[in-house]
Symmetry: C2
Subunit: 228 residues, 2 copies
């Protein structure tokens, strides 16, 4: 199984997909036809057009998910995770995508598309604007992912929960592990080896333990059961 | 129907519940026994103890939701909205609370407790750490509420959605209106009159229109159908 899980398509100081472009090129190799899934956005056509134009500059041909059989890779774009997952359920695509990726189709995800590679979407940052029939997601990796991971701002006067507090609440109710993937970071999965790409560390949360910073490179993820 | 819907129990520069205390005193009048609902937290007992101690300083007697028949008011505390709503469903309390409040029992809510006074919990900021059977909530008011409302930070390098962008996504999929209630703000509802308390304006979002700032005082909320 091959996955490239991007924290965010937009990174401060870069335009759309410029930051992850080199990692995407290396990951895709000779793949040319990419099936793009625009369901995290409200306007699918506009999103398809935007991504088709952007990927054309990488000599990639964007096709629709209806053409998945012709695709060399699948790319699930960011937006609202609830909307993305609900639409995948409504169109009966979850099993199709999971089976194809497990059979070797390279999977690219960004933001919401990265969240749903996890067992559930329960570590999303998004607002529950629509109600999917279940929070269960693709389960391509054995850890929960929180993209756009944001460190607490010591100068903030805001009293809403920090991201770390939200993930701790998740671990009050569920096993981990959860990886907080900062903007600019990417998880690459090749068979069972997970590599953290980018210059930043990631923050790994486990139930009953203090979170730790994980360095770029091959990372070892504790299993959920060992965290109990 | 009487409601006091607090954006946040904690406000910068104040300790727990100090900022809304005067509004709570005025709202409660002669009420003495308050049934507190701690289900937004993981540890119900610890939360009950904390609130019991705090409300004792206001000469209020905190009792459990099992004693709702003896209560002069109900107070639903903040925490995680998914956890709060799921627990209310699991314990079959949603209808009980709705009926009692519609029959005149004063309702205090803070943060998650304010969110669930709306028709649905779909404008929460919280992480979906558990899965309630439905996002439908108490529906005591006819507008969606986003507590801890946060203005975009023009200096931010973060590329996740701003709160305004998230509420705009909500309005792509649902009718409004949605009120963004900044920390330190309170909505008081007496029969059908809604008053914005505090010094800050609130931000009112409607489908197909630009958001507007609402001044403290009596506010008029457009109906969902007129926003179409």
């Amino acid at each position: 199984m091959r996955l490239l899980l991007i924290s965010s398509s937009n990174v401060h100081g870069y335009v759309y997909l410029d930051h992850p472009e080199s990692a995407m090129r290396a990951f895709l190799g000779g793949a040319r036809r990419v099936a793009f899934v625009p369901f995290a956005a409200h306007d699918h056509d506009a999103y398809m057009t935007k991504v088709r134009e952007r990927l054309a500059r990488m000599d990639l041909d964007v096709i629709g998910i209806d053409d998945l059989d012709r695709a060399d890779a699948i790319f699930v774009g960011g937006g609202n995770t609830f909307r993305l997952l609900k639409t995948l359920y409504d169109r009966n695509l979850l099993t199709t995508i999971r089976d194809r990726v497990r059979a070797g189709l390279p999977y690219l995800g960004s933001s919401a598309g990265t969240v749903i590679a996890a067992p559930t979407m329960q570590t999303t940052n998004d607002m529950p604007i629509v109600e999917p029939p279940s929070f269960a997601a693709l389960g391509l990796v054995d850890l929960q992912i929180n993209p756009h991971y944001l460190d607490p701002d010591p100068h903030s006067t805001h009293r809403g929960e920090t991201r770390e507090e939200r993930i701790r609440e998740y671990l009050e109710e569920n096993d981990g592990p959860v990886i907080g993937l900062r903007e600019g970071s990417i998880l690459q999965v090749e068979n069972n080896v997970i590599t953290l790409l980018g210059e930043k560390t990631a923050r790994l949360f486990q139930r009953g333990a203090e979170p730790v910073e994980v360095q770029p490179g091959v990372i070892s993820v504790p299993s959920a059961s060992s965290a109990d």
